[in-house]
Symmetry: C6
Subunit: 75 residues, 6 copies
Protein backbone atom coordinates (compact mmCIF):
# COMPACT_ATOMS: atom_id res chain seq x y z
CA UNK A 1 0.00 0.00 0.00
CA UNK A 2 2.77 2.42 -0.96
CA UNK A 3 0.54 4.48 -3.29
CA UNK A 4 -1.63 7.14 -1.69
CA UNK A 5 -5.02 5.56 -1.04
CA UNK A 6 -6.86 8.37 0.76
CA UNK A 7 -6.07 11.80 -0.66
CA UNK A 8 -9.42 13.32 0.35
CA UNK A 9 -12.75 12.58 2.03
CA UNK A 10 -14.58 14.69 -0.52
CA UNK A 11 -16.76 12.76 -2.94
CA UNK A 12 -19.04 13.79 -5.76
CA UNK A 13 -22.17 12.18 -4.35
CA UNK A 14 -23.55 10.30 -1.32
CA UNK A 15 -23.22 7.07 -3.27
CA UNK A 16 -19.53 7.69 -3.97
CA UNK A 17 -19.17 8.50 -0.28
CA UNK A 18 -20.76 5.19 0.64
CA UNK A 19 -18.37 3.36 -1.65
CA UNK A 20 -15.45 5.15 0.00
CA UNK A 21 -16.82 4.00 3.38
CA UNK A 22 -16.72 0.41 2.12
CA UNK A 23 -13.12 0.95 1.01
CA UNK A 24 -12.08 2.39 4.38
CA UNK A 25 -13.66 -0.49 6.28
CA UNK A 26 -11.62 -2.91 4.17
CA UNK A 27 -8.41 -0.91 4.61
CA UNK A 28 -8.98 -1.12 8.35
CA UNK A 29 -8.86 -4.91 8.02
CA UNK A 30 -5.94 -4.82 5.60
CA UNK A 31 -3.75 -2.73 7.90
CA UNK A 32 -4.33 -5.32 10.62
CA UNK A 33 -3.95 -8.40 8.41
CA UNK A 34 -1.73 -7.38 5.45
CA UNK A 35 -1.57 -10.80 3.79
CA UNK A 36 -3.77 -10.91 0.67
CA UNK A 37 -3.73 -14.69 0.86
CA UNK A 38 -4.98 -14.87 4.44
CA UNK A 39 -7.68 -12.24 3.81
CA UNK A 40 -8.93 -14.13 0.73
CA UNK A 41 -9.11 -17.30 2.76
CA UNK A 42 -11.02 -15.58 5.58
CA UNK A 43 -13.36 -13.85 3.15
CA UNK A 44 -14.62 -17.17 1.81
CA UNK A 45 -15.79 -18.02 5.31
CA UNK A 46 -17.22 -14.76 6.58
CA UNK A 47 -19.16 -14.06 3.39
CA UNK A 48 -21.33 -17.00 4.41
CA UNK A 49 -21.80 -15.75 7.98
CA UNK A 50 -24.67 -13.31 8.39
CA UNK A 51 -23.42 -12.14 11.76
CA UNK A 52 -20.11 -11.01 10.30
CA UNK A 53 -21.82 -9.45 7.30
CA UNK A 54 -23.87 -7.32 9.68
CA UNK A 55 -20.69 -6.40 11.57
CA UNK A 56 -19.05 -5.37 8.31
CA UNK A 57 -22.12 -3.28 7.46
CA UNK A 58 -21.77 -1.62 10.88
CA UNK A 59 -18.18 -0.54 10.21
CA UNK A 60 -19.26 0.86 6.85
CA UNK A 61 -21.98 2.85 8.64
CA UNK A 62 -19.45 4.43 11.01
CA UNK A 63 -17.15 5.45 8.16
CA UNK A 64 -20.13 6.75 6.19
CA UNK A 65 -20.95 9.06 9.11
CA UNK A 66 -17.47 10.52 8.94
CA UNK A 67 -17.51 10.92 5.17
CA UNK A 68 -21.01 12.42 5.16
CA UNK A 69 -19.91 15.05 7.70
CA UNK A 70 -16.78 15.75 5.65
CA UNK A 71 -19.01 16.48 2.65
CA UNK A 72 -21.45 18.59 4.65
CA UNK A 73 -23.96 15.82 3.94
CA UNK A 74 -23.89 16.71 0.21
CA UNK A 75 -26.49 19.40 0.84
CA UNK B 1 -26.30 -2.25 -8.70
CA UNK B 2 -25.49 -0.21 -11.78
CA UNK B 3 -28.38 2.22 -11.27
CA UNK B 4 -27.82 5.10 -8.89
CA UNK B 5 -29.11 3.99 -5.49
CA UNK B 6 -28.20 6.96 -3.29
CA UNK B 7 -28.68 10.30 -5.04
CA UNK B 8 -29.32 12.23 -1.82
CA UNK B 9 -29.61 11.91 1.96
CA UNK B 10 -32.51 14.36 2.01
CA UNK B 11 -35.89 12.82 2.82
CA UNK B 12 -39.36 14.27 3.22
CA UNK B 13 -39.86 13.06 6.80
CA UNK B 14 -38.15 11.29 9.71
CA UNK B 15 -39.98 8.12 8.75
CA UNK B 16 -38.66 8.23 5.19
CA UNK B 17 -35.23 8.85 6.69
CA UNK B 18 -35.57 5.77 8.85
CA UNK B 19 -36.54 3.70 5.82
CA UNK B 20 -33.48 5.02 3.99
CA UNK B 21 -31.37 3.94 7.00
CA UNK B 22 -32.77 0.42 6.63
CA UNK B 23 -31.88 0.50 2.94
CA UNK B 24 -28.30 1.64 3.62
CA UNK B 25 -27.76 -1.05 6.24
CA UNK B 26 -28.80 -3.65 3.67
CA UNK B 27 -26.60 -2.14 0.95
CA UNK B 28 -23.69 -2.41 3.37
CA UNK B 29 -24.31 -6.15 3.47
CA UNK B 30 -24.92 -6.40 -0.27
CA UNK B 31 -21.63 -4.70 -1.17
CA UNK B 32 -19.84 -7.29 0.98
CA UNK B 33 -21.88 -10.30 -0.17
CA UNK B 34 -23.21 -9.51 -3.67
CA UNK B 35 -24.90 -12.86 -4.30
CA UNK B 36 -28.68 -12.55 -4.00
CA UNK B 37 -28.88 -16.31 -3.54
CA UNK B 38 -26.44 -16.43 -0.64
CA UNK B 39 -28.07 -13.44 1.08
CA UNK B 40 -31.53 -15.01 0.77
CA UNK B 41 -30.20 -18.20 2.28
CA UNK B 42 -28.56 -16.32 5.17
CA UNK B 43 -31.65 -14.19 5.75
CA UNK B 44 -33.76 -17.26 6.47
CA UNK B 45 -31.43 -18.07 9.36
CA UNK B 46 -30.72 -14.66 10.89
CA UNK B 47 -34.36 -13.59 10.83
CA UNK B 48 -34.88 -16.24 13.51
CA UNK B 49 -31.92 -15.08 15.62
CA UNK B 50 -32.75 -12.26 18.03
CA UNK B 51 -29.10 -11.39 18.56
CA UNK B 52 -28.60 -10.71 14.87
CA UNK B 53 -31.86 -8.81 14.63
CA UNK B 54 -30.63 -6.49 17.40
CA UNK B 55 -27.32 -6.09 15.55
CA UNK B 56 -29.20 -5.20 12.38
CA UNK B 57 -31.25 -2.67 14.34
CA UNK B 58 -27.96 -1.20 15.62
CA UNK B 59 -26.64 -0.60 12.11
CA UNK B 60 -29.92 1.05 11.16
CA UNK B 61 -29.55 3.34 14.20
CA UNK B 62 -26.08 4.46 13.10
CA UNK B 63 -27.28 5.25 9.57
CA UNK B 64 -30.33 7.02 10.97
CA UNK B 65 -27.99 9.32 12.94
CA UNK B 66 -26.25 10.29 9.72
CA UNK B 67 -29.48 10.83 7.80
CA UNK B 68 -31.08 12.80 10.62
CA UNK B 69 -28.09 15.15 10.72
CA UNK B 70 -28.21 15.49 6.93
CA UNK B 71 -31.83 16.63 7.23
CA UNK B 72 -31.11 18.97 10.11
CA UNK B 73 -33.28 16.61 12.16
CA UNK B 74 -36.35 17.61 10.10
CA UNK B 75 -36.84 20.64 12.36
CA UNK C 1 -47.16 -0.45 9.57
CA UNK C 2 -49.20 1.57 7.08
CA UNK C 3 -49.95 4.36 9.58
CA UNK C 4 -47.32 7.02 10.01
CA UNK C 5 -45.15 5.97 12.95
CA UNK C 6 -42.50 8.70 13.01
CA UNK C 7 -43.92 12.13 12.18
CA UNK C 8 -41.27 14.02 14.18
CA UNK C 9 -38.20 13.60 16.39
CA UNK C 10 -39.37 16.42 18.65
CA UNK C 11 -40.50 15.35 22.10
CA UNK C 12 -41.77 17.25 25.12
CA UNK C 13 -39.08 16.00 27.50
CA UNK C 14 -35.89 13.92 27.69
CA UNK C 15 -37.95 11.06 29.10
CA UNK C 16 -40.33 11.12 26.16
CA UNK C 17 -37.26 11.19 23.92
CA UNK C 18 -35.89 8.12 25.63
CA UNK C 19 -39.18 6.31 25.11
CA UNK C 20 -39.08 7.26 21.44
CA UNK C 21 -35.56 5.79 21.28
CA UNK C 22 -36.93 2.51 22.64
CA UNK C 23 -39.64 2.58 19.98
CA UNK C 24 -37.15 3.20 17.17
CA UNK C 25 -34.90 0.37 18.31
CA UNK C 26 -37.89 -1.97 18.15
CA UNK C 27 -38.97 -0.68 14.75
CA UNK C 28 -35.47 -1.43 13.51
CA UNK C 29 -36.07 -5.06 14.47
CA UNK C 30 -39.63 -5.07 13.11
CA UNK C 31 -38.59 -3.83 9.67
CA UNK C 32 -36.09 -6.72 9.49
CA UNK C 33 -38.42 -9.37 10.97
CA UNK C 34 -42.01 -8.29 10.23
CA UNK C 35 -43.73 -11.34 11.70
CA UNK C 36 -45.34 -10.51 15.07
CA UNK C 37 -45.42 -14.21 15.85
CA UNK C 38 -41.72 -14.78 15.26
CA UNK C 39 -40.77 -11.66 17.21
CA UNK C 40 -42.92 -12.71 20.18
CA UNK C 41 -41.27 -16.11 20.14
CA UNK C 42 -37.79 -14.57 20.03
CA UNK C 43 -38.62 -12.06 22.74
CA UNK C 44 -39.37 -14.82 25.23
CA UNK C 45 -35.80 -16.04 24.80
CA UNK C 46 -33.79 -12.85 24.61
CA UNK C 47 -35.54 -11.27 27.58
CA UNK C 48 -33.77 -13.92 29.65
CA UNK C 49 -30.36 -13.25 28.08
CA UNK C 50 -28.41 -10.45 29.73
CA UNK C 51 -26.03 -10.12 26.80
CA UNK C 52 -28.89 -9.37 24.42
CA UNK C 53 -30.53 -7.03 26.90
CA UNK C 54 -27.30 -5.01 27.01
CA UNK C 55 -27.19 -5.01 23.21
CA UNK C 56 -30.77 -3.75 23.11
CA UNK C 57 -29.85 -1.02 25.59
CA UNK C 58 -26.95 -0.08 23.29
CA UNK C 59 -29.25 0.45 20.31
CA UNK C 60 -31.53 2.58 22.46
CA UNK C 61 -28.51 4.68 23.46
CA UNK C 62 -27.61 5.34 19.81
CA UNK C 63 -31.16 6.42 18.95
CA UNK C 64 -31.30 8.55 22.10
CA UNK C 65 -28.21 10.43 20.87
CA UNK C 66 -30.01 11.25 17.66
CA UNK C 67 -33.21 12.30 19.37
CA UNK C 68 -31.38 14.38 21.99
CA UNK C 69 -29.57 16.28 19.24
CA UNK C 70 -32.87 16.77 17.38
CA UNK C 71 -34.30 18.39 20.49
CA UNK C 72 -31.22 20.52 21.11
CA UNK C 73 -30.76 18.40 24.23
CA UNK C 74 -33.98 19.90 25.72
CA UNK C 75 -31.98 22.89 26.98
CA UNK D 1 -41.70 3.56 36.48
CA UNK D 2 -44.66 5.92 36.74
CA UNK D 3 -42.61 8.70 38.40
CA UNK D 4 -40.63 10.95 36.11
CA UNK D 5 -37.13 9.50 35.88
CA UNK D 6 -35.48 11.83 33.36
CA UNK D 7 -36.56 15.45 33.80
CA UNK D 8 -33.32 16.90 32.38
CA UNK D 9 -29.93 15.97 30.92
CA UNK D 10 -28.28 18.85 32.78
CA UNK D 11 -25.98 17.81 35.62
CA UNK D 12 -23.84 19.77 38.05
CA UNK D 13 -20.57 18.07 37.09
CA UNK D 14 -19.02 15.54 34.67
CA UNK D 15 -19.11 12.96 37.43
CA UNK D 16 -22.85 13.46 37.97
CA UNK D 17 -23.22 13.19 34.19
CA UNK D 18 -21.39 9.89 34.20
CA UNK D 19 -23.65 8.58 36.94
CA UNK D 20 -26.66 9.63 34.88
CA UNK D 21 -25.19 7.70 31.95
CA UNK D 22 -25.02 4.60 34.14
CA UNK D 23 -28.67 5.14 35.10
CA UNK D 24 -29.78 5.51 31.47
CA UNK D 25 -27.95 2.35 30.43
CA UNK D 26 -29.83 0.45 33.14
CA UNK D 27 -33.17 2.00 32.20
CA UNK D 28 -32.54 0.81 28.65
CA UNK D 29 -32.39 -2.72 30.02
CA UNK D 30 -35.35 -2.20 32.36
CA UNK D 31 -37.65 -1.00 29.60
CA UNK D 32 -36.85 -4.19 27.67
CA UNK D 33 -37.01 -6.55 30.68
CA UNK D 34 -39.33 -4.94 33.27
CA UNK D 35 -39.25 -7.77 35.81
CA UNK D 36 -37.07 -6.83 38.80
CA UNK D 37 -36.81 -10.51 39.66
CA UNK D 38 -35.52 -11.58 36.25
CA UNK D 39 -33.04 -8.68 36.10
CA UNK D 40 -31.67 -9.54 39.57
CA UNK D 41 -31.23 -13.12 38.49
CA UNK D 42 -29.45 -12.10 35.28
CA UNK D 43 -27.28 -9.59 37.12
CA UNK D 44 -25.78 -12.31 39.31
CA UNK D 45 -24.50 -13.99 36.17
CA UNK D 46 -23.32 -11.12 34.03
CA UNK D 47 -21.48 -9.42 36.89
CA UNK D 48 -19.08 -12.35 36.71
CA UNK D 49 -18.67 -12.11 32.92
CA UNK D 50 -15.99 -9.67 31.81
CA UNK D 51 -17.28 -9.58 28.26
CA UNK D 52 -20.69 -8.36 29.40
CA UNK D 53 -19.14 -5.88 31.82
CA UNK D 54 -17.22 -4.35 28.92
CA UNK D 55 -20.44 -4.23 26.89
CA UNK D 56 -22.19 -2.48 29.76
CA UNK D 57 -19.31 0.01 29.96
CA UNK D 58 -19.74 0.61 26.22
CA UNK D 59 -23.40 1.56 26.60
CA UNK D 60 -22.48 3.92 29.44
CA UNK D 61 -19.89 5.54 27.15
CA UNK D 62 -22.50 6.19 24.46
CA UNK D 63 -24.91 7.78 26.93
CA UNK D 64 -22.06 9.80 28.45
CA UNK D 65 -21.39 11.27 24.99
CA UNK D 66 -24.97 12.46 24.79
CA UNK D 67 -25.00 13.88 28.30
CA UNK D 68 -21.63 15.60 27.87
CA UNK D 69 -22.89 17.31 24.73
CA UNK D 70 -26.09 18.32 26.53
CA UNK D 71 -23.97 20.02 29.19
CA UNK D 72 -21.68 21.68 26.64
CA UNK D 73 -18.96 19.40 28.07
CA UNK D 74 -19.14 21.28 31.42
CA UNK D 75 -16.76 23.90 30.04
CA UNK E 1 -15.45 5.82 45.18
CA UNK E 2 -16.44 8.55 47.60
CA UNK E 3 -13.70 10.95 46.41
CA UNK E 4 -14.46 12.99 43.32
CA UNK E 5 -13.03 11.08 40.36
CA UNK E 6 -14.15 13.24 37.42
CA UNK E 7 -13.93 16.96 38.18
CA UNK E 8 -13.40 17.97 34.54
CA UNK E 9 -13.05 16.64 31.00
CA UNK E 10 -10.34 19.19 30.25
CA UNK E 11 -6.86 17.74 29.84
CA UNK E 12 -3.50 19.30 29.04
CA UNK E 13 -2.87 17.19 25.93
CA UNK E 14 -4.41 14.57 23.64
CA UNK E 15 -2.34 11.94 25.39
CA UNK E 16 -3.70 12.92 28.81
CA UNK E 17 -7.15 12.84 27.23
CA UNK E 18 -6.57 9.32 26.00
CA UNK E 19 -5.47 8.24 29.47
CA UNK E 20 -8.64 9.77 30.89
CA UNK E 21 -10.62 7.76 28.33
CA UNK E 22 -8.98 4.59 29.63
CA UNK E 23 -9.91 5.60 33.17
CA UNK E 24 -13.56 6.25 32.23
CA UNK E 25 -13.86 2.89 30.46
CA UNK E 26 -12.66 1.19 33.65
CA UNK E 27 -14.98 3.23 35.86
CA UNK E 28 -17.84 2.09 33.65
CA UNK E 29 -16.95 -1.48 34.57
CA UNK E 30 -16.36 -0.63 38.23
CA UNK E 31 -19.77 0.97 38.67
CA UNK E 32 -21.33 -2.23 37.32
CA UNK E 33 -19.09 -4.65 39.24
CA UNK E 34 -17.85 -2.81 42.37
CA UNK E 35 -15.92 -5.73 43.88
CA UNK E 36 -12.16 -5.22 43.47
CA UNK E 37 -11.68 -8.93 44.05
CA UNK E 38 -14.06 -10.04 41.33
CA UNK E 39 -12.65 -7.52 38.83
CA UNK E 40 -9.08 -8.68 39.53
CA UNK E 41 -10.16 -12.24 38.96
CA UNK E 42 -11.91 -11.37 35.69
CA UNK E 43 -8.98 -9.25 34.53
CA UNK E 44 -6.62 -12.24 34.65
CA UNK E 45 -8.86 -13.97 32.12
CA UNK E 46 -9.81 -11.20 29.73
CA UNK E 47 -6.27 -9.88 29.43
CA UNK E 48 -5.53 -13.12 27.59
CA UNK E 49 -8.54 -12.79 25.28
CA UNK E 50 -7.90 -10.71 22.18
CA UNK E 51 -11.60 -10.32 21.46
CA UNK E 52 -12.19 -8.66 24.82
CA UNK E 53 -9.08 -6.53 24.48
CA UNK E 54 -10.46 -5.17 21.21
CA UNK E 55 -13.81 -4.53 22.91
CA UNK E 56 -12.03 -2.65 25.69
CA UNK E 57 -10.16 -0.61 23.09
CA UNK E 58 -13.54 0.19 21.48
CA UNK E 59 -14.94 1.62 24.70
CA UNK E 60 -11.80 3.73 25.12
CA UNK E 61 -12.32 5.06 21.59
CA UNK E 62 -15.87 6.17 22.38
CA UNK E 63 -14.78 7.99 25.52
CA UNK E 64 -11.86 9.53 23.66
CA UNK E 65 -14.34 11.01 21.17
CA UNK E 66 -16.18 12.69 24.01
CA UNK E 67 -13.03 14.00 25.68
CA UNK E 68 -11.55 15.23 22.40
CA UNK E 69 -14.72 17.22 21.70
CA UNK E 70 -14.66 18.60 25.25
CA UNK E 71 -11.14 19.89 24.61
CA UNK E 72 -11.99 21.29 21.19
CA UNK E 73 -9.66 18.61 19.83
CA UNK E 74 -6.67 20.38 21.51
CA UNK E 75 -6.39 22.67 18.49
CA UNK F 1 5.40 4.04 26.96
CA UNK F 2 7.29 6.81 28.75
CA UNK F 3 7.88 8.85 25.57
CA UNK F 4 5.05 11.08 24.42
CA UNK F 5 3.04 9.11 21.89
CA UNK F 6 0.17 11.51 21.13
CA UNK F 7 1.31 15.13 20.95
CA UNK F 8 -1.46 16.19 18.53
CA UNK F 9 -4.44 14.95 16.56
CA UNK F 10 -3.48 17.11 13.60
CA UNK F 11 -2.24 15.22 10.57
CA UNK F 12 -1.09 16.31 7.14
CA UNK F 13 -3.67 14.25 5.22
CA UNK F 14 -6.68 11.95 5.64
CA UNK F 15 -4.40 8.99 5.05
CA UNK F 16 -2.04 10.03 7.84
CA UNK F 17 -5.12 10.50 10.01
CA UNK F 18 -6.25 6.97 9.22
CA UNK F 19 -2.83 5.63 10.18
CA UNK F 20 -3.04 7.53 13.45
CA UNK F 21 -6.44 5.91 14.04
CA UNK F 22 -4.82 2.50 13.61
CA UNK F 23 -2.14 3.50 16.12
CA UNK F 24 -4.70 4.69 18.69
CA UNK F 25 -6.72 1.48 18.39
CA UNK F 26 -3.56 -0.49 19.16
CA UNK F 27 -2.60 1.77 22.07
CA UNK F 28 -6.05 1.13 23.50
CA UNK F 29 -5.19 -2.57 23.56
CA UNK F 30 -1.65 -1.95 24.84
CA UNK F 31 -2.82 0.11 27.81
CA UNK F 32 -5.09 -2.80 28.79
CA UNK F 33 -2.55 -5.57 28.11
CA UNK F 34 0.93 -4.03 28.46
CA UNK F 35 2.91 -7.25 27.88
CA UNK F 36 4.48 -7.25 24.40
CA UNK F 37 4.85 -11.01 24.67
CA UNK F 38 1.20 -11.67 25.42
CA UNK F 39 0.03 -9.29 22.69
CA UNK F 40 2.29 -10.96 20.11
CA UNK F 41 0.90 -14.32 21.11
CA UNK F 42 -2.70 -13.11 20.83
CA UNK F 43 -2.03 -11.37 17.53
CA UNK F 44 -1.05 -14.66 15.89
CA UNK F 45 -4.52 -15.97 16.69
CA UNK F 46 -6.76 -13.02 15.99
CA UNK F 47 -5.10 -12.19 12.68
CA UNK F 48 -6.65 -15.43 11.44
CA UNK F 49 -10.11 -14.60 12.80
CA UNK F 50 -12.25 -12.53 10.46
CA UNK F 51 -14.67 -11.60 13.21
CA UNK F 52 -11.91 -10.00 15.27
CA UNK F 53 -10.43 -8.30 12.22
CA UNK F 54 -13.79 -6.65 11.58
CA UNK F 55 -13.94 -5.61 15.25
CA UNK F 56 -10.46 -4.09 14.97
CA UNK F 57 -11.57 -2.24 11.83
CA UNK F 58 -14.55 -0.92 13.81
CA UNK F 59 -12.33 0.57 16.51
CA UNK F 60 -10.19 2.20 13.83
CA UNK F 61 -13.36 3.71 12.32
CA UNK F 62 -14.35 5.28 15.65
CA UNK F 63 -10.90 6.82 16.14
CA UNK F 64 -10.89 8.01 12.53
CA UNK F 65 -14.12 9.91 13.23
CA UNK F 66 -12.44 11.73 16.08
CA UNK F 67 -9.29 12.51 14.11
CA UNK F 68 -11.24 13.64 11.05
CA UNK F 69 -13.22 16.08 13.19
CA UNK F 70 -10.00 17.31 14.81
CA UNK F 71 -8.66 18.11 11.34
CA UNK F 72 -11.88 19.74 10.19
CA UNK F 73 -12.15 16.82 7.77
CA UNK F 74 -9.05 18.09 5.90
CA UNK F 75 -11.27 20.43 3.88
Amino acid sequence: MSDPWLPTLTTASPQAGFELAVKLSRIGVKLTQPSDQVRSHLRAAYEQDSSQLISASHVIAVHFQTIAAANNWWR
